[in-house]
């Protein structure tokens, strides 16, 4: 019994159709990029955000950088690295601003620069005391190597401040002015040892 083979021109047509199908299916793919899906685009976290005139990422970054640099410059003039704690930064604007995020950025930059030391602040005290109690009172840890109670260093200085805004509307222009003020107080003496402020103006047209 002979096998039935297709004529040569039909085989050629088959191969061409297969190539065309592959080109259609895989021609749209971008070769070499290790990605899945295509709806999300990653951007530049350091880029200037101009989406709306509300408080944005660029405002947070510029404030944190300006305050951190000013503090570092002040602290580098001290004989020993000052021990500081971050107190509350009040939001006196009419919008929601996470001031904790701003002070966290300031603290990160200062710790990285090595110009200041930070003590546990009020928000972190619960975790701090939980850990101390766990190591000392649970009976699970070696007394010789576990950390001792009553050895915490109190901060000599505290940093606090506020952010305010002035919003003006006229015609199709909206002008927003932010002022971020920060002070560093000697907790024992009650004196203000450092103060600085950062102003930002954003204007938008409808």
């Amino acid at each position: 019994m002979h096998a039935i083979s297709s004529p040569p021109h039909f085989r050629c047509l088959q191969r061409t159709a297969l190539c065309a199908l592959c080109a259609a299916l895989f021609g749209c793919a971008t070769p070499g990029t290790p990605t899945v899906g295509g709806n999300v685009q990653y951007g530049d976290a350091k880029a200037v955000e101009q989406v709306t005139n509300e408080f944005g990422s660029t405002d947070l970054q510029t404030i944190a950088e300006a305050m951190a640099r000013s503090l570092a410059q002040s602290a580098s003039g001290y004989k020993t690295k000052p021990l500081v704690t971050i107190a509350d930064v009040k939001n006196k604007t009419s919008e929601y601003i996470d001031t904790r995020s701003i002070t966290d950025s300031i603290r990160t930059q200062l710790v990285k620069s090595g110009t200041m030391r930070f003590a546990t602040d009020i928000d972190g005290m619960q975790n701090q005391t939980d850990e101390l109690v766990r190591q000392n009172n649970s009976g699970l840890y070696k007394k010789s190597s576990s950390i001792k109670m009553g050895r915490m260093e109190g901060a000599k200085y505290r940093i606090e401040g506020n952010i305010t805004s002035i919003v003006k509307r006229g015609g199709d222009v909206k002008d927003v002015y932010y002022k971020f003020s920060l002070i560093m107080t000697d907790t024992e003496a009650g004196t203000i040892e450092w103060a600085d402020e950062k102003e930002i103006r954003k204007t938008s047209r409808r």
């Binding site: 530049d44 200037v48 660029t58 510029t62 990285k112």
Partner: protein
């Protein structure tokens, strides 16, 4: 007498012409522009150390009568040209018409011994047709 006067004037003219390009070359070596700014240029650069931290003052001039916007950030380097701090955030700056603005920059760490200013103007000579280019 005439020859002496002529030679003195020529020497003075040469000195005047020679000075700016040398200074411009020093400033240009510290600035990294994205494109060629059409109306903005750095006309002065000063650096000094204070309490171990580098302080830089850069003078930016707007040669246009209209306001211009730009964006800048600083790369802090050590003696060997190695970057010693993370990329900073881009900072927007606005110059009024014909304004000379002094940008103040302080190093974040005492490891920074050198710097490079990255600069991007909204209006660039090479890329713009009638308006600005994409901002950072």
């Amino acid at each position: 007498m005439h020859a002496l006067l002529r030679n003195t004037l020529l020497a003075a003219a040469c000195a005047l012409v020679a000075a700016p390009p040398v200074m411009a070359q020093t400033i240009a070596s510290k600035i990294e522009t994205m494109g060629e700014p059409a109306m903005l240029q750095f006309t002065g650069l000063r650096m000094r150390e204070q309490n171990g931290l580098l302080r830089v003052q850069a003078e930016l001039t707007n040669s246009d009568t209209a306001p211009q916007t730009a964006y800048y950030r600083v790369q802090w380097l050590d003696d060997g040209g190695f970057q010693v701090w993370d990329d900073e955030a881009w900072k927007p700056v606005m110059l009024h018409g014909a304004q000379k603005l002094t940008l103040q920059m302080v190093a974040p760490t005492t490891k920074a011994r050198d710097f490079k200013i990255q600069f991007s103007a909204s209006e660039n000579r090479a890329l713009s047709q009638s308006g600005g280019t994409a901002s950072p």
